[in-house]
Assembly symmetry: C3
Homo-oligomer: 270 residues x 3
């Protein structure tokens, strides 16, 4: 897994224009759709229990995000996930806010048990809470200052959950329980725009739609995403979160293989 491989997978996403079925939260629907369009994927949002099985079946990947979960949307996630699994469609699961309330923690745990999730993506607190490790969370944001070992958490979570685990933060980690990568791209401004984590989960889904090696897909998606963010903040300026949001969409569109080859910071850590 190196920068050239990441660039190649990005090129495959662009040439394939995969259909990504998102069941995501009310806060980020627009930003997620625009981010996927900027990347070169084809987003669709569909929530009704009457149609999610049909939509998941024809999608290149399914992204499930529980940011504003309720019983109806959880039911739709189950139906969509079951259909995706039956048709070989990869699933990304984003356990937003796991640990913040018992309802979120329990829902996240039951969904990862029931569905054959391909990649789970969250911050360290969310992933820790899904697997029962101790890690504090504030609303939907991981508490800062934790000095636990994130690489080790990613490995343990991948083993416990039986799926590739992507933990994002200052550095990002991707692990399948045996091999673990650190990706060190991005900018702190990503934490000042809502939904950048949620969109990232859908971007991983787009990479999974064209790449069967889930570790390679997730690592590539994270590197591409971080490179786009780095270049966006160069234009927007550090203290301009509004402009950053717009420039980030611009750079999700404009970031190509050359930028990924030159800027991606991908390291195998175990």
């Amino acid at each position: 897994m190196d920068n050239q491989r990441a660039a190649d997978i990005l090129a495959n996403v662009r040439s394939s224009n995969p259909l990504i079925h998102n069941i995501t939260n009310l806060v980020v629907t627009n930003f997620t759709a625009n981010g996927l369009l900027a990347l070169g994927a084809s987003p669709v949002m569909a929530y009704a229990k009457e149609e999610v099985a049909d939509m998941a079946r024809i999608a290149g990947a399914l992204a499930l995000n529980m940011g504003t979960l309720d019983e109806q949307v959880v039911q739709s996630m189950r139906i969509a996930g079951t259909s995706a699994a039956a048709h070989g469609v990869p699933i990304v699961f984003d356990p937003v806010g796991a640990g913040a309330t018992p309802y979120r923690t329990e829902t996240a745990r039951s969904l990862v048990q029931e569905l054959p999730v391909t990649v789970i993506r969250g911050n360290a607190a969310e992933i820790a809470n899904v697997v029962g490790e101790d890690w504090s969370i504030k609303g939907v944001d991981a508490a800062v200052g934790s000095n636990q070992d994130v690489a080790s958490l990613a490995r343990k979570a991948a083993q416990a959950l039986g799926c590739v685990t992507a933990i994002t933060g200052k550095d990002d980690y991707v692990s399948d329980g045996k091999v673990t990568y650190r990706i060190s791209n991005g900018t702190p401004l990503l934490t000042k725009v809502t939904g950048t984590g949620c969109l990232l989960s859908s971007v991983i889904a787009a990479f999974l739609a064209v790449e069967k090696d889930a570790v390679a897909a997730a690592v590539s998606a994270l590197a591409y995403y971080g490179v786009a963010a780095e270049n966006a903040v160069e234009v927007a300026g550090d203290d301009h979160p509004g402009s950053f949001q717009i420039e980030f969409l611009n750079h999700l569109h404009r970031t190509g293989g050359e930028a990924v080859r030159q800027q991606a910071s991908i390291h195998r850590v175990e």
Copy 2:
């Protein structure tokens, strides 16, 4: 129907500031509201079955969009549409994703049968699927490369559905089954921002609120919208979908009669 007429109807929208009741999808609510405000209309979103009849009654027009439909919102569309019809309020219907799943196709067909829709707006695949013509769809986007005759589809759909039909794409077509217009404004960047079709349906509603001739209202709305997009892309640049979204809102506000008179490309084709 000429450019001067389109400019006049735009001026009427601005001086009337019509209230547009939208029952639209979760992805585009914010963009739709901001687009209507930029135009000079007054948007309101109301979904609850307890109030949609009251809101539709006092609106200048009602825009129904099934982008993220479920049974509750479909029920509210029926109630709102019935109230609109009873009080002479024009209805625009946007059958987002008709053809993508059986649920969408069937819901779209039943709504156009039950409600006295004034204008239906969609891409070629959506309109074809509503009237039972063969046209492939990918998620919520029309498959490209179809070489069917869109003008003919618009005419046939208008006849079959008994309402004015607006089909948007590279060129746009508006037909009432007898007279058909082609509008050739716009930019490909409109396909890189989510909700530009949905907002357009609400913009048509705003034009219908001040203009009883539904063909003239729809043609004018499409020309205005396309002219604003052309001028927005001049500022934003071709490969900047984030900036385009913002400049498009700016130009929906700034595009006036003079720009429409000079730039609108309206042709009667039959």
Copy 3:
């Protein structure tokens, strides 16, 4: 209550980074989250009846907004508000569109009666309709040209409702029924971007999370918000509502104590 005090409370918000639980409408979720992040607060949106009591309990403040109300969200507001009250968490209530339909008016009246609201914020028509005064409303916007005395309405509403009342418009008024302040910051462009009132209610919640004097919190929030808007429009330009939205987010982030001290226009009127 003077500019220095407003600047001090703003500094407290930034150093405390309070968690704000929002139950808000579908149109403004993204803008509200981004605005709170830009301010330096920590937003969370949670709606499910299964979790809102838990989330409200751990929040610094709770913001309830009925912009796209339905029975489920109203039920969640009741549960969240009851939990907030039991745990000393202040509540801001935004009665969006009260007066536009009977359902909105009745829901707003019952919620302010049932819950110990700390601050109610709305335009003059909404507040008047909640307390049974005559004031016309168009959709969710106050009818312009009313020449009633807004300061007097704020005072009367505060007395009738037993909570601090903030009425926003060309000038803003804050009253607890005895003391009333006028804040004269802002720009007309705020009316051309959807959700600026809704976000403001959540910003007031963030100020309440760090300041027990609800009048001081609300006055400070309004002054800060108006100053940020004034500086944003200087950059964006008067006829650029798209750019204004982005610059406003930039300035919610960049506006600090110095700008508030110099530009805030706070006057005690009774």
